[in-house]
Symmetry: C2
Subunit: 459 residues, 2 copies
């Protein structure tokens, strides 16, 4: 069985694979900060060279922002498009890092053996699991098992401004049978997971305007309308006492999770207590009557992400400010329509404005509906079997609380379904100081992709 | 009648008096900013020299902060202590100024002829009304009408850290029969006012703590406790639907305004509509059932002065922050006890904390009860008559929404009652860009003090 030889090759070559990942992690490809523009180019160059080293016809493709990397290899059987991103989040607050973010280390820790450094998990380590699987497969078999297009972007952490134009301009070149994405987590350590439903998101921001100018609370304290008080009252009205969103029409398009899926989730190994305890909670909050997992994967939310107004410095200032500000995001599920939710939300706020107050909205913030993957496609069952064999544990179709916008663009622009398989863990501290990726995630991730490729190619 | 000669002298010398004020206004004596330390010294030096020029035994007295100016002149009759402050507020936002803040100008405007510049009203212009009255009185009569101690501080706009120790250390030297303070406004243009009751103040600040770290709303949005939502809910609970403070025990010590005083206030010329309209209000807000003036002068408040947490930058960030912050002040009236109010307020917040949340308080913020002046003293009636004669309009005993902490220290440390007479107008933009003082306030303010001095000395 050739797959066993590939897996052995992966085991033998792990030190070299880690070395390659470390080299990529040393490149500070922070996409949101213009100071790292040249480093984003270097990361793209590194990937082009690495793909070329395993016989892939790869090149860097410039965009108005950071470049894309596109590679092709011919082959029989299904045509796969593999997506990952080589850019990383900023590293601040730097003083909370225990190592240099771009001087990656292998460390033995309580969480196991880990690769420590910015991008180790999100997404360089994950991206390389697929590349290393391809390398080993080719080393053993002389070629890859099927036709594959590699597609890496460098702007995922900064809103992907070039992605949609690039997909549109290169739709033919990037067409395939199905997209594979490695940018997600396992439900819990050791439980292989295919993310099959992702929440959508609506972003909005408003400013509540009261008096024409900042006022002195000695003069206007009492008769004056205070925007901070009013914005608090409005925000407090967003939820009822059971944690349910109290905006009329908000839940249109939301359905309860089917019993069968609910049973799967209940048995997927998710450790609610640990998950909550790790951030200081003794119990789930939010919508009463729903478990943590169901809330996270299958219930919509309205979260305040930013709130400010008045004086924030040291000491006291007797000001009634002219304005108060609120940033919020809604996570969307099922058939919730972002435009409908936005309208309902804005109406809710406007209905609650007191006299002499007005509201303005930021109209530059977008929204996208939830994504539900097409798990009836045979590739999902093939991948599920491959993962179950590697991890010796039934793989699960999981939900995801966040969104992976690229899957929507693949669907809308390329007509491609996506299959989301990732090996990150919830404690990887992505976007935070001391990001890590377990060596086991990397090693078994490579092995997993080898198995998945094999299954998909042979189907 | 010598007072007529003094008033004529004041009229004749107005251009010179304005020149002197302009010289003082050119000194950027911003007390809160260490960069202006030398300028605070210069302002004190200027005042010492100016007092000396009218025969007053004045000197600069160093403190750990900015210096005090103390001057004495002997005389018969009552012993008056006159207080003012030579320091000013910072000038930011500088781009909203239409002139240089420290290059004062006389301008003809819709509001009349005004002196424009930082400190023109608060408090250099007001302070100089008294000094110029003394100068004219001496020019005409060869000496001042009674014994006067001059006392100017340079830290009023930065919390007066040196004031209490200085008063304690120099209590004997600063003792007098009554204190005169010129740092207040007229109820409305042309209506001379003696502020006879001032609200007290309680400052507090709290931080509401939720998760141990900032969370990603894709992961914890739903089951996660959001401190921004919770702080909004708590702030919303501070008031009931009638604008009344809903903190248990808050109103202990509050009494309704006596009918007679209420009638005086109703006829004091206060133009509610203009007062509200000038800042963009079409109606009074706050506590239902109370007029703007009564709310401002005689009702307690709980105002949010600062509120913040989460992301405030451009665009969106899907964060559930670990903390949310709130700064607040309460205005106190009657016999309200700051310590009691603080305790009630903190209890109110703590009673409303959800599970897994905690609160911490800033324990460095002070409080002081309301001040009610002793208007039965004969000096109040003498001053009221003098003011009524100058302005040709019955002077009123007004309330004040803000506090003048020095009056409390005079009472507690020196045993001195204070009489607060000022000529500022509500539209003077004190603490704001484009501060001004009407030339009429300055001119008739000087004339007013000459008349008041004359009445008090002759009584």
């Amino acid at each position: 069985m050739p797959i066993d030889a590939v897996l052995t090759r992966i085991d033998d070559q792990l030190p070299d694979a880690l070395d390659r990942l470390m080299a990529l992690l040393r490149i500070p490809s922070i996409s949101t900060d213009p100071a790292y523009k040249a480093d984003c180019q270097s990361a793209a160059d590194w990937l082009v060279a690495d793909l070329q080293s395993i016989g892939i016809d790869a090149e860097k493709r410039e965009t108005p922002g950071h470049p894309m990397v596109v590679g092709h290899v011919e082959g029989d059987g299904p045509h796969l498009l593999f997506y990952g991103h080589y850019d990383v989040q900023p590293v601040d607050p730097l003083d909370l890092w225990k190592t240099e973010p771009f001087a990656p280390e292998i460390q033995d820790t309580d969480q196991g053996r880990v690769i420590r450094g910015r991008g180790a998990s999100d997404d360089k380590g994950q991206l390389m699991t697929f590349v290393e699987a391809c390398r080993a497969y080719r080393d053993v078999n002389g070629s890859l098992p099927c036709r594959i297009t590699f597609f890496f972007e460098g702007e995922e952490e900064s809103g992907s401004p070039s992605l949609v134009p690039f997909l549109k301009d290169n739709a033919k070149e990037l067409s395939a049978d199905i997209a594979l994405v490695c940018d997600t987590s396992m439900v819990s350590p050791g439980v292989p997971s295919i993310a099959s439903q992702l929440r959508g998101m609506l972003k909005d921001e408003f400013t509540l305007h009261g008096p024409k100018i900042d006022l002195h609370s000695g003069h206007y304290g009492g008769p004056g309308l205070n925007p901070l008080k009013e914005i608090a009252r409005i925000i407090a009205s967003f939820h009822d006492e059971n944690g349910r969103v109290a905006v009329e029409g908000f839940y249109d398009g939301v359905e309860e999770v089917p019993d069968e899926l609910l049973r799967q989730w209940e048995n997927c190994g998710f450790d609610e207590e640990t998950y909550l305890k790790s951030v200081g909670y003794t119990q789930p909050h939010g919508e009463r009557g729903y478990s943590t997992l169901v809330q996270q994967w299958a219930r919509p939310t309205l979260e305040i992400n930013g709130l400010w107004g008045g004086y924030q410095g040291a000491g006291s200032k007797t000001v009634i400010p002219a304005e108060a500000h609120c940033k919020l995001t809604c996570r969307l599920v099922g058939d919730m329509d972002p435009d409908h939710v936005r309208k309902a939300l804005r109406q809710h706020v406007e209905d609650r404005l007191p006299p002499d107050a007005s509201v303005t909205w930021d109209n530059n913030l977008d929204g996208s509906p939830a994504s539900v993957m097409n798990i009836d496609r045979p590739e999902f069952e093939q991948a599920r079997q491959a993962l179950s064999e590697e991890w010796n544990r039934e793989a699960v179709f999981s939900g995801m609380g966040g969104s992976i916008p690229v899957t929507r663009f693949f669907k809308d622009i390329l007509g491609l379904d996506s299959m989301l398989i990732g090996f990150a863990q919830d404690d990887d501290a992505i976007h935070s100081p001391n990001e890590k990726y377990n060596v086991e995630s990397f090693h078994k991730g490579i092995r997993s992709w080898a198995r998945v490729l094999d299954k998909l190619a042979k189907a």
